[in-house]
Amino acid sequence: MKAMDFNSGKIPVWCPGCGNFAIWNAIKGALADLEINGKDVVNISGIGCSGKMLNHLRTYGFHTLHGRTLPVATGVKLSNHKLTVVVNGGDGDGYGMGVGHFIHAIRRNLDVTYLVHDNHIYGLTTGQASPTTDRGLKSKSTPHGVIDEPLNPLAVALNAGATFVARGYSGEVEHLKELIKEGINYNGFAYIDILQPCVTFGKTYSYEYYDERIYKLDESYDFTNFDNAMEKIWEKEKIALGIIYKKERDEYASLHPQLKDDILVNSTGKLRDILEELEKFK
């Protein structure tokens, strides 16, 4: 299949120049390169502009409530661990409402690819501050300037025990596509924070801003070293793109003896013999 075969046929309603177009292309390209059939892919999206990704992919999809992408993904993946599950959420969705689920999904090491469209602002609700918005920024919900310290989501992930932590940029589609491919191929929770300019409300984090600061991690970088990763995550002036930390760890579904032989979907909804249990109540 080609990337364009993953078009749903629905015309996107993102603003012209929105980073979502690039993320969309990267996802389609990754699926095509990996030769995954769309019928075996579930795209789970939250609320916001990132959530609209769902409409534009020729795959199965579940558009859940704000912040609730990862619990849906967990239910789907444990029920049918042969599916490829790609989760799309924004910084508001994933780091605000969903931050608890984020940490617990990391603990579980569920085999899904989690793409967070991080534009440091709430786009669809017309420009309020998000958990990753810098201090001082004046927004509709913070007219006197943000006084909360911004969340460093990659640091949160690393400290929570994440074993695939990466950063992509919607201005670097090919690079992002490769990252998503790595994420899908990773046997566990692949978390990719995607820097994405919001051309309408996020004036600070423009393409120019990122283009001046980003650099790609090359082969000399050892992503298995936790301390290296921490250092990269807290860099001030430059922004590293690529796999920042990666380590092998048991994937969640594999730890369930119930799922050893078959997917759960095949054993459910059949009349069970419970006589042995009933005897214990006599």
Partner: protein, 561 residues
């Protein structure tokens, strides 16, 4: 007919909740029908725990206020219980001050001395008490010791058996209590809690996924299913919170697995958004709700039926939901089983309501059989391998408002399940025609569900001075009270929504109706008024965290109201 009640009490940590149910089972195996009712505070050690067993050679349904034999393991029992003249009280009277003038029949068992002389630890005090109780009631010691074997780890088994034997030796013939002889009528009956009946109904129905956060009194559904998960190939998850609990179950159900969540009112408050999500995505979901008193954290370990209207009105906007209100073990088992069929067939959220009293008490009227049990997964798209990447009209009506479901992985079944209003393929749509079409279609299901759900059933004589109207667990005390008086009969609602209210209206007319519910406002009565226009003025309501005791109902009826 003779009904005997035995109660064991002491501080939390004294093994009341293991001794009580074990003794209830010993009585069942001795040929009695048994009901066991636990009371306990929400603390690990201390406070006052008690377990109240009612038994008879005829079926028993519910708990009496009266206590014939009281086992008091500690002074706290005397602070909490009313001791009457006719009671037999088993206690270490030598060591409990203030009991000298009590007029009850005292069975003095020197627990403290026995433990000291035999170098036994405090924790076997409950086994001494069970030995005494077995002797007094003429229970075969082998029955008791077999239960010990089933319940205690090998390393403490002998210690408990010898403790019970010492207890037995302390009993003199004159201490014996006259009981009717047990019979074999209850041999095949199951003695279990309501939550166990729910869990087994779900397992029987092919449950694949149960996810929730622990909350009393629903927690034991989670515990029991977790114990069974590997054996039956079920995924059981204790999630980070209730929100995740319900949303995970929705994800599992979307993927094609039979999924359930369970909680109490506080947890359901968090799950509310998820109920709406299940509704608009038409994802089948079963929700077991075990009610307890109070908004917020309320009274965690006590009972109330005050979440009916919460469930009926749950989540924003209007949508079809099924609300089942079973009243006994059989109804819990079969209705939970059927809840999965209803959820799959109609693709709506299905609630199974219970409460602490029904969830955690032991009942023994149940005999579950396979007869007539059938699985219905509803309309499921088999796939089209010719066109694997085609979108599928998932939300197009197939029959009676019901669309066809397609599980992810099915070729040609691609669709989107959105929390937003959507078109046939699941793409977000906000045009007025689509909205109206969808609402009309989804509500169409109600007419057909209505025909499937049971109407309120009349128990007792056809005509009576008073006709109680109840739902859920209140069936139990009313059944028991019926044994003592024919002045009342009662309607029990084992389902509340959606049911045929025109027919209900027919059933209820021209009767001296009294609403009997464990809540402050009479929630079912208010629903009946809304749906039928019948205003039940007389209400017998209780909201102290306790179920109706049988004597209270008899008193109420006697007063003639």
């Amino acid at each position: 007919m003779s009904v005997i009640t035995w109660k064991i009490g002491g501080p939390a940590g004294f093994g009341i909740m293991s001794a009580g149910p074990m003794f209830a089972m010993a009585l069942k195996r001795s040929g009695y029908s048994v009901h066991g009712y636990p009371e306990y505070p929400s603390i690990i050690r201390g406070g006052y725990n008690n377990y109240h067993v009612t038994f008879s050679d005829k079926p028993v349904f519910s708990v009496y206020n009266r206590c014939d034999i009281l086992v008091a393991l500690d002074k706290v029992v005397f602070d909490s219980e009313t001791i009457t003249k006719n009671m037999i009280v088993i206690a270490d009277f030598d060591n409990i001050k203030g009991t000298e003038d009590l007029e009850c029949k005292k069975v003095n068992i020197p627990f403290k001395k026995i433990l000291k002389d035999n170098e036994l630890p405090d924790i076997v005090k409950n086994s001494i008490a069970l030995g005494v109780s077995a002797k007094i009631l003429g229970i075969d010691e082998e029955i008791l010791f077999t239960l010990f074997k089933e319940n205690y780890p090998a390393k403490v088994l002998d210690m408990n058996i010898s403790a019970a034997k010492i207890g037995m030796e302390f009993c003199l013939d004159e201490m014996k209590f006259k009981v009717p002889k047990g019979n074999s009528n209850f041999k095949d009956n199951l003695l279990m809690t309501g939550n166990e009946a729910i869990a087994l109904g779900a397992v029987k129905a092919g449950l694949g996924f149960y996810s929730t956060y622990p909350m009393t009194p629903a927690s034991s559904i989670l515990h029991y299913l977790a114990k069974l998960e590997e054996k039956y190939g079920i995924i059981v998850k204790h999630t980070e919170d209730e929100i995740s609990g319900i949303i995970m179950a929705i994800g599992a159900s979307y993927a094609g697995v039979r999924a359930m969540t369970g909680t109490s009112g506080g947890g359901l408050s968090l799950m509310t958004e998820g109920v709406g999500l299940a509704a608009i995505t038409e994802t089948p979901l079963v929700i077991a709700l075990s009610q307890r008193p109070g908004p917020a954290t309320g009274m965690p370990t006590w009972t109330e039926q005050a979440d009916l209207k919460f469930v009926l009105n749950i989540s924003q906007d209007e949508f079809v939901k099924i609300v089942l209100t079973p009243g006994d073990l059989n109804e819990l088992f079969y209705m939970t089983f059927e809840a999965f069929n209803l959820a799959d067939r109609y693709q709506v959220p299905v609630f199974v309501l219970t409460d602490k009293f029904l969830s955690e008490s032991h009942f023994c009227e149940a005999i579950f059989s396979d007869n007539g049990l059938k699985i219905d997964r509803g309309f499921i798209f088999e796939g089209n391998s010719e066109a694997p990447m085609e979108f599928f009209p998932r939300y197009k009506e197939v029959e009676n408002g019901i669309p066809m479901k397609s599980n992810p992985g099915t070729p040609g079944g691609l669709y989107k399940a959105p929390g937003n209003e959507h078109d046939e393929f699941g793409f977000v749509a906000t045009d007025s025609r689509t909205r109206i079409k969808n609402q009309d279609r989804r509500f169409k299901k109600e007419e057909f569900i209505k025909k499937e759900l049971p109407l309120p059933r009349l128990y007792g004589a056809k005509e009576a001075e008073i006709t109680f109207v109840c739902w859920g667990s209140t069936k139990q005390p009313l059944m028991e009270a019926l044994k003592h008086t024919d002045k009342f009969n009662f309607f029990h609602f084992s389902a509340v929504n959606p049911i045929d209210w025109e027919k209900v209206k027919e059933l209820l007319k021209d009767k001296n109706l009294v609403a009997i519910e464990t809540n402050y406002t009479g929630q079912l009565a208010s629903v009946i008024a809304e749906k039928t226009g019948i205003v039940i003025k007389d209400k017998y309501l209780k909201y102290d965290g306790r179920p109706f005791f049988v004597e209270e109902i008899i008193e109420f009826v006697k007063r003639g109201n």
